[in-house]
């Protein structure tokens, strides 16, 4: 049985995330831990942490109306879990629940769910930096779920052959062996159409072990439009990605292709890093 943390910010209830948790629970029973964060939104949530995590003492003040909103969200969470037969707990000190506590909680959790459309509409924030910032503050993989999305029926593995992307591909398979058996596409982006993923043979040998229904797609310099159209034709996809490294030469290429498509299509994203 997996221990899954569902993070809610500032009293925002996420129907999409709860539906996802319910579907997960149908496949294999989970223990769902409700984490109710008082921060204003995700952007300030993570930046708050970066500024104050070293002190570890600052807890933002909660306005009475926020406390009320959080309580309402908790009530909805509990009602939904009871109705859908999901085992659940609510973090006891939820009014003090800030990022340092969330990090501790994720040390002994299998997955952190974040359900918010705010993620997909962060203005002025680079999506990669944002994902990396989230991962920096968690000790388990993260799944970001848009408000309107179906439970995944297809896996899209983004892969550059490096440690980060391979690690994410392995962790997704360990956590969701039942989803790994679904149709899966390994996507590799490189402007040179003849360029293969570094260590192609080894990558395919590993990925085939976990994802038996595997396809491979190479996106070259003309691939942006193709990828966008191709993703539209994929039924209920989930994107599996490692944290992209800064300073990576092909980073710009990856950003333009994959993260833009994630944002514009509002795709669920699974990310993991060590």
């Amino acid at each position: 049985m997996k221990k899954v943390i569902a993070a809610f910010d500032n009293g925002h209830y996420s129907e999409g995330m709860m539906q996802f948790a319910s579907e997960l629970n149908k496949k294999e029973p989970i223990l769902l831990v409700g984490a109710f964060l008082p921060q204003v939104d995700y952007a300030s949530l993570w930046s708050y942490a970066a500024a104050n995590i070293a002190d570890g003492v600052y807890i933002p003040l909660i306005e009475p109306q926020t406390a009320e909103a959080i309580q309402k969200t908790i009530d909805r969470f509990e009602t939904y879990c009871l109705k859908n037969h999901i085992r659940f707990t609510v973090h006891k000190e939820y009014f003090d629940f800030a990022l340092p506590e969330l990090k501790k909680e994720t040390t002994y959790a299998d997955l952190l769910l974040i359900g918010s459309d705010l993620f997909y509409s962060q203005t002025g924030i680079d999506l990669n930096d944002y994902l990396k910032e989230i991962l920096h503050h968690t000790d388990c993989p993260v799944l970001i779920i848009p408000e309107k999305s179906d439970f995944p029926a297809n896996n899209i593995l983004t892969c550059d052959g490096k440690e980060g992307s391979i690690y994410a591909i392995k962790q997704f398979a360990y956590l969701f062996p039942e989803l790994a058996s679904q149709p899966t596409t390994l996507v590799y982006a490189n402007p040179d159409p003849d360029h293969q993923i570094p260590g192609h043979g080894s990558v395919m040998e590993l990925v085939n072990c976990h994802y038996p229904r595997l396809n491979e797609v190479h996106l070259d310099v003309n691939g942006k439009k193709f990828f966008d159209t191709w993703v539209s034709g994929i039924k209920s996809p989930v994107v599996i990605a490692g944290a992209f490294n800064r300073g990576d030469i092909s980073m710009i290429f990856k950003k333009s292709f994959i993260t833009d498509t994630i944002a514009s299509h509002r795709l669920p994203v699974f990310i993991a890093h060590k």
């Binding site: 049985m1 040390t107 002994y108 360990y174 260590g199 590993l206």
Partner: protein
């Protein structure tokens, strides 16, 4: 199915380690890939190349030398032996031959694997200790969890998680559990050593909550004192277990256990040791 590797010195096949790797592959129902390593760099010689533009030195391997031919013969014989042992253990097998710098080759292979098994004394420079310099390097840099094979092995009836409160230790427990869901019915012991012999309730509860979702028989043991003494006293009395540890991180983040504690376990306690670090 998972991708399980065993690193093998092409010239010296350790049959005990191979039999252990076969036992693990059977638990997982996965094939076993033998990485046959050969240090080709040590066979290179400085040769003067003569060209029209002048002479220059270059490192080259003479593949037709008698030494290399004898080496190749030995490696081929060991590959055959590897196949025969796997077959006798009813394990499907694959062979990868890597000819370059062995530690670098294993590190690269480990990225594309779920689990790597090594023999504690494996070395390409004669005996360099237990664990050998080569194995220490692998433990530090491998990109997948590593099991150091014991000298002799019968069965796994118990899992001992050595826990020091660090992120690395917690990470190792999780990775072991993800890789071996088949061992859910084995007895689990979390052995904690802390400076004051006390285990904070909240931390313990969090771990217990997680473990209870995965295992049915869980025990907790907390002790204070010298890490090596306590580990030795506790583990030597117990049999047929696998030890799980999270030290050997690439950064010195581990709170209590150190590389030398892991080396001590490998050297003094004849049990399989699973190491994975965040």
């Amino acid at each position: 199915m998972q991708k399980i590797l065993i690193a093998i010195n092409g010239e010296e096949l350790n049959e005990q380690a191979l039999n252990f790797a076969c036992a693990i592959a059977r638990i997982k129902g996965s094939p076993l890939t033998g990485i046959f390593l050969e240090n080709m760099v040590e066979n290179e010689q400085l040769i003067w190349k003569v060209t029209g533009g002048g002479n220059y030195p270059e490192w080259e391997t003479d593949e037709h030398s008698k030494i290399l031919e004898a080496k190749a013969k030995k490696i081929n014989a060991n590959i055959e032996k590897f196949r025969a042992v796997c077959q006798a253990n009813q394990v499907l097998c694959k062979v990868h031959e890597d000819k370059s710098v062995p530690s670098r080759e294993v590190e690269t292979e480990s990225r594309f694997a779920d689990l790597l098994i090594v023999d504690a004394c494996m070395s390409f420079k004669g005996y360099t200790g237990t664990p050998s310099d080569f194995v220490q390097q692998i433990l530090r840099h491998a990109e997948c969890p590593v099991i150091v094979a014991p000298e002799s092995f019968t069965a796994i009836n118990e899992i001992v998680f050595l826990y020091d409160g660090s992120k690395n230790a917690a990470y190792a427990i999780k990775q072991f559990t993800y890789l071996f869901p088949e061992l859910y019915d084995k007895r689990v012991i979390v052995f904690r050593i802390s400076e004051d012999g006390i285990w904070q309730d909240h931390e313990r509860q969090q771990m217990q909550e997680w473990l209870q979702q995965r295992y049915s028989a869980i025990g907790f043991e907390v002790q204070k004192g010298d890490v090596k003494d306590k580990i030795f006293d506790y583990l030597l009395k117990r049999e047929n277990n696998i030890i799980v540890m999270g030290s050997y991180g690439r950064t010195a983040l581990s709170r209590f256990f150190s590389h030398s504690d892991a080396d001590f376990v490998i050297n003094a306690i004849p049990r399989p040791l699973f190491i994975s670090h965040a």
